[in-house]
Structures are given as structure tokens and as C-alpha cells.
Amino acid sequence: MNCSSKEEELYLPITYNLEIPSLFSEKLIAPVIPANNPLTQEGVALGKKLFFEKLLSGDNSQSCASCHNPQNAFSDSQQFSVGIDGKKGIRNAMPLFNLAWNFDELFNWDGSEFSLENQAFEPVRNPIEMHATWKNVAQKLQNHPEYPTLFKLAFGTSTIDSVLITKAIAQFERTLISGNSKFDRFLRGETSLTPEEESGFNVFMDEAKGDCFHCHGSNNNPLWTDNLFHNNGLDTNFTDLGLGAKTGDPKDNGKFKSPSIRNLAFTAPYMHDGRFATLEEVINHYSEGLRFSSTIDPLMKKVSQGGVQLTTKDKADLKAFLLTLSDFEFINNPNFKNP
């Protein structure tokens, strides 16, 4: 008895080394891994199993992956995801990748959750999502034939609770790295762009045209987002206050987190409310559909004319460029699929 408990104390899970794309380590500061939740092989494996685990919902019908589908770069192809009771939310499920490089650790469209660990608490108890109680979920896993052992391997205890569940899920989420699109290979000198893609990149980078790079990254910021909150001119009046609802400050009304423009081929529909079904609609919005409101971002140009009026060719090129950021290896990675 004594002996075995001693073994338990000595047991250490194996460190999991993130495979960081060379462009990320070259260009960016280190990813955020909290000291109290280091990545381990056992923790990541457990987190993956939990991410696909329907026992996490009230009626055992829904997992995180039900709304965050690997085939869609972990987003939902429906405009509004449906929870277990058939209820719909008001926001489009976000894609999940490169989350460890969200340096401010503010998650959700409005930044309402700090850290991945905290974020993971929310969907399980949200009545319009998985609608469960953490107590019941922990109990179901405790009674499961495999989970107690897996928790023991990952965290040294077979007593399951919400804190360890969310820690394991967060570990798995940090391994979801997308950094091998055509444009990444182009930057690494392994392939070339078509003339259309190249001129589309220039539209993206040109302050007089797209001027997208101020918010959506660049060849020097391969996250392709600033992870900050802006009003990109979608509405004159807001039905969803976004950041403003979180901070209570009217100056933040209508601001949402800039999404990464990686993997757009898989993440339609677009914007926080999934209002645009296609990239053409997105591009038309920036080109001529901007709407003024007091919190609109100063980077939105010629708002009184609806935008900078890109030419048909510029629009087509811009779309071609955006699609070079699709990472097929990411959506087909067996490590990220349902075990």
C-alpha cells in the first residue's frame, strides 16, 4: 500500500513538445503555455478524447467537436450552432487553431473569456450549448471504464473534476497548429504564387487598396490576425454589442476580435454572426459596403462612399490570395481527428 502510493508520487507524465512551424519561431514571440498546465503527452491525448466526448453534454449528444469540426478548421458550417435543446446562439462558432499564440489570451468574439482553461468551462454549462452541469459531467467520467486511469496518467490522480477536465482540453487545443498552407510554403521558398495570388497579396498589403495587414497580419505575422478588437463597419446600429457588452463601455460597442484569415476555405460563413456566406461578400463589404458608426475603426477608409471601391480584378486577386492560406494538412491531420 505504502509502496504503491510512493510510486504514484514519483510518476511523471512525459513532456509534449509542440511542433512549432519554423516561420512561427522565427517571426513570433513564444506561445503562451501556463506554468500550472504544461503540455504532456498524456494530458494532450486525454484532452483530445475529451474534446470529442459527448458525455460532456447534458444528454450525451454533443461534444465540443459538434460545433468545432476538424474538417472546417474546427468551426461550424452552420451560421449559428444548435445546442442540445435545439436552441441557437447569436454567434458563429469560431475556428480553433494557433490559439497558444493569442498572447493576450482573450477568447470568444468579444474576448469575454481569459485563458483557454477558463474558456472551456463555459460551453459545457451554457444552456444553449451543451447544457450540462460540471458536477454531472465529472461524475459520468468518473464512472467511465477508461477515464479514471487516463486522468491518473495525465495528472497523477484518478479523481476527476472540472479543473482537470478543462486543463486537459486546453492542452489539446494548444496543439492545434496551422502553419502549412501554400502561402507558408511560398514564404519558405518551396513553391511560387500565381500572378493572381501575388497581386492579391499586394492588394492586401497596399494601404491605398485593401490595407488589410494593419489588422490581419502579414508575411511577418503568420498568425494573420492581431487578436485585437475592432469595429470593421458591418452595422450602423448594433444588435450584438460585442466587446462593449463585456466591458460596459459604449466606446467598445460593435467591436469584435479580428479572426485569422487562415483557412477561410473551410470556415464559411464569415463574421461574428456568420452573415456572409462567401468570400466575395466579405470583399464587397470592405470595398463598398462599409457602414458608419461612432466606433468604426479609423483604418476603415472612405466610409462615406462605402469603402475604397476595389476593381473587379483586385477583388478576384484578393480572393485568390486569401485562399492560399488554406492549410489542407491541418484539416486532414490524423492527430486532430476523432480517436
Binding site: E26, K27, L28, I29, W101, F103, N202, M205, D206, E207, A208, D211, F213, H214, C215, G217, S218, N219, N220, N221, L223, D226, K251, F292, S294, T295, I296, D297, P298, L299, M300, K301, V303, S304
Partner: protein, 249 residues
């Protein structure tokens, strides 16, 4: 060789001792640089953002939404820091604590932006991570300043401005960009330091619109990055924005 080395070390020690004997207790001190911002004397803090509080010399009312800029080669005494990004809206980088400055008269200066020698595309991970880059098509490297907000246009309508300063670039021939270093050195002055000291460095934001180039936001409001002449004018106006403020112990 070894002998020479030990001779040198001996000499050093001797000199070191001598110095200590003559000058009683000259402990190095800590200097804190504090970057503050004002509009012709009225303090600007993040809480003053996004309200039409200030009026430019030319007469446009403006509201500030983002103000972040880079100072580099910050030098005082034997100390030099490569660069610091100051973000007024996020209250970051406003202070620089420099320990171990020798007592005595010390000169303080820095560069606004990066000189060409330091303005190398993509090499600073912290600046990349916060998207401070300049596209290669405009010469690459980094912004010196991103100053964004709204102004009341001639019809009293809200309009956006992006007062972004970078190395000036003439893009008329994209295959052959003409670049001009528009960073500039700011000499704050000499300070007689005998104890820990805080030096306030003030930026009068109104000066960016004042002189020598009176700035009309109705004419020059956005897409200033690829505007060679605008960059030169912004650089000229920048020469007057910094001054020394309160010095406290």
C-alpha cells in the same frame, strides 16, 4: 600573453581601488524614464481616447483612438537600449527603468523610430507579434508611429485619419523604390545625477499638426504611408514634439 593579461588585470584593480579611495561612496543610481503625452499642456491618457477633445492648429477637432510609437537607441551614460514600443492606449511601455547608471553628468538621447541600420524587415519578434511591420512593397521594416482617430471634416462629419509614420518611400516605380530615412534623434539633455531619478519625457501630440508644416486633416488624412512628401513633413513636425518634463528623485 598570459602575463600581459594578468598585468592588465592588476592595473585595473589598482585603478579601481584608487578611484574608491578618492571618491567616497559613489554608488550607481537608477534612472526611470517616464513617457507622458499631452495636447498643448493638457494631459492625454488612454481615458481621453475616442472623444472629440482636441483641436488641431488648423482647426479640426479630433478624437484619438490609437497612439503607439517606437523609440530606439535610448542612451544615457553607459547604457543603451535597442528599442521600446510605447502604447498610450494600452498603457504599455510608458516607463523604462535603467539601473546602474554612474553618478555625475549624463546625457540622454534617443531616436524616434528606427534608423535604417536598425530598420530591418521582420527581425524583431515582439514587434512582428504586435503587427508593427511595414509591407515590403513600401520598403519593409517597421512603423515609427501609428496614430489613428477621427476628425470632424469640413462638413462637420466624422472622418477617419491614420497618421502613420514610416521611412519615407517613393513608390512611383515599384521595381525601384526610393527610400529615405525619416527617423530622427531627440536630444533630451544633460542631467546631473546623484540619486535615483525619474525623468519625464513629454510628447506634445498637438505638435504633429503644427510646425513647420501646418497640417490640414481634410487634405492629408489617410494612405500617408506611401506618400513620400507627407512622410518628410511628418518627420519635420516631429522634431518639436518631445521635451523634458518633471525631474524628480
Amino acid at each position: 600573453m598570459k602575463k600581459i593579461m594578468s598585468f592588465c588585470v592588476g592595473l585595473f584593480l589598482l585603478l579601481g581601488c584608487e578611484k574608491k579611495d578618492c571618491c567616497t561612496n559613489l554608488e550607481p543610481i537608477t534612472v526611470t524614464l517616464q513617457f507622458t503625452h499631452n495636447w498643448d499642456g493638457i494631459p492625454i491618457n488612454s481615458s481621453d481616447f475616442t472623444t472629440f477633445k482636441f483641436t488641431t492648429e488648423h482647426g479640426e477637432q479630433i478624437s484619438i483612438e490609437q497612439l503607439r510609437y517606437l523609440v530606439s537607441r535610448i542612451k544615457i551614460g553607459n547604457f543603451e537600449k535597442n528599442y521600446q514600443l510605447i502604447n498610450v492606449g494600452e498603457n504599455t511601455g510608458l516607463e523604462l527603468v535603467i539601473p546602474q547608471i554612474p553618478q555625475g553628468n549624463q546625457f540622454l538621447k534617443f531616436t524616434f523610430g528606427f534608423t535604417d541600420a536598425d530598420n530591418i524587415d521582420g527581425i524583431y519578434p515582439d514587434l512582428n507579434s504586435t503587427s508593427f511591420n511595414v509591407p515590403m512593397m513600401m520598403g519593409g521594416g517597421y512603423h515609427y508611429m501609428q496614430f489613428d482617430g477621427k476628425y470632424k471634416d469640413s462638413n462637420n462629419q466624422n472622418a477617419n485619419f491614420n497618421y502613420h509614420t514610416i521611412r519615407a518611400v517613393n513608390m512611383s516605380n515599384p521595381m525601384n523604390l526610393i527610400l529615405e530615412d525619416t527617423s530622427f534623434e531627440v536630444e533630451i539633455g544633460t542631467f546631473e545625477l546623484s540619486k535615483n531619478t525619474t525623468i519625464e519625457i513629454k510628447m506634445n501630440v498637438a505638435e504633429w499638426f503644427k510646425n513647420p508644416n501646418l497640417w490640414d486633416l481634410n487634405v492629408l488624412n489617410s494612405v500617408l504611408m506611401p506618400n513620400f512628401d507627407a512622410q518628410k513633413m511628418m518627420s519635420e513636425n516631429g522634431r518639436n514634439v518631445f521635451s523634458v518634463g518633471t525631474i524628480s528623485n
